[in-house]
Amino acid sequence: MLRDAALVAGKDLRIEIRSRVGLNQIGPFAIAVLLLFGLALGPDRQVLAPASAGLFWVAVLLSTVLAVQRSYAIESTDGARDGLRLSGLDPAGIFLGKTGAVAAQLLVLEAALSLGVALLYGAHLSGALVLAGACVAGTLGLAAVGTLYGVAASGLRIRETLLPLLFLPVVAPVLLAATKAWDEALAGTPGRAGGWLDVLVVFAVLYVAIGIVAFGSLLEDG
């Protein structure tokens, strides 16, 4: 399973490095979201800075939708699932590989967004360990749910608008917990983020587990 996962993840990441869609499209999208939030909430840093954590994570959530859609688009167009299904790879491995690739790309994006948030909203990036921990645990959960729903909501046109609707409500706890963890870190009290980090870890573990078990069935059912 892990070998197949590494295979799939490697393939997805190589495709990204070569095509640079993440860099050219999803990254700018995320930055645009940050800018739009800035416009929406006004130039006053007194308003923006405290909201940095939430806005950061909303931008991440939205970017995850794009990243997952991209993750499935790189398989052939309509035969997205056929290609994967017929490859003979362990479905759980495919799930882990795709989740890992999406997560990796998101983490790179988050690094950039952190700088964006510091620059645009005046957030002081303290408590780096908590910030990073929340990013890793949160992103893993996001990628797992996204990859799971992605296989059911990708391929045919009728399905593609489904992904945001399915994905975003389910990951609401990730948004909540990650934002609170970041809030504590940014406010200079990273010690208080412990519980929220636990929520993120539990969520990630839960949905990675569900994915390992359920992905195969969803993959079969074209």
């Binding site: 059911a152 009728i158 609707l165 399915l166 409500p169 389910v170 909540l176 929520v199 069935s217 059912d221």
Partner: protein, 251 residues
Amino acid sequence: MSKPARAVPPDQAAVVLRVLGATALVGVVATVWLGLFVTPPDEFMGNLVRLLYVHPPMAWVAFLAYGVASLASLLYLWPRTREAHFDRLAGASAEVGVVFTGLTLASGSIWGRPTWGAWWVWDPLLTTTALLFVLYLGYLALRRVPGEFHVRARRSAIGALIAFIDVPIVYFSVEWWRSLHQAPTVLNPTTHKTYVHGSMAWTLLLGFVSFTLVYVWLMAHRYRLAKLQDLEDSEGLEAALAERRAEAVAG
């Protein structure tokens, strides 16, 4: 593995359904009458307490329906109990559930406005209900993705589990989030004290029972509708295939 067809004579089923519907209707009418006219106003909330004969039952049914849909989905996924009727049950419960969830939010909002001065508060229960509403809608949308019956059923069942396992996580996260701030809550101790005795308690109980019966009645009809739609689909497919065969023979 051959199982005998569970032959419930259609007449019996229809009669049971009628009786159920009539009982539910009587119960609801009685609840409304008692709630609006017979029971006294509360000493703190005044007449607003009357909304509490209706709003909590809505919430109860919303979550009951969610539980039934989740359980039915689980049963469908479990190989030993993989029966078509569990998939239909899940779908029926979800559709009725989304109606009740919407009504929970609406009635909660209407109660909240005069009570807290706002149409919405980020109370854990209300927020979880709002998220449940959207989760339901997503699940129903997933069900509508076309496909072969069992493909659709399995996909929906997994989708249901992914979504509905989330609900407790959401509730506890929001509750913790809220506990960090002092805020009005629906599950307020004083709310409980006010209508624990007398006609108010009985009316509340009647409300819970009646609306639960309404839920069951609605679900039964929704289930039957689903069954008929599946029948229609299978007959349509057969007709098309028969036509195709006829053409092949002729041509």
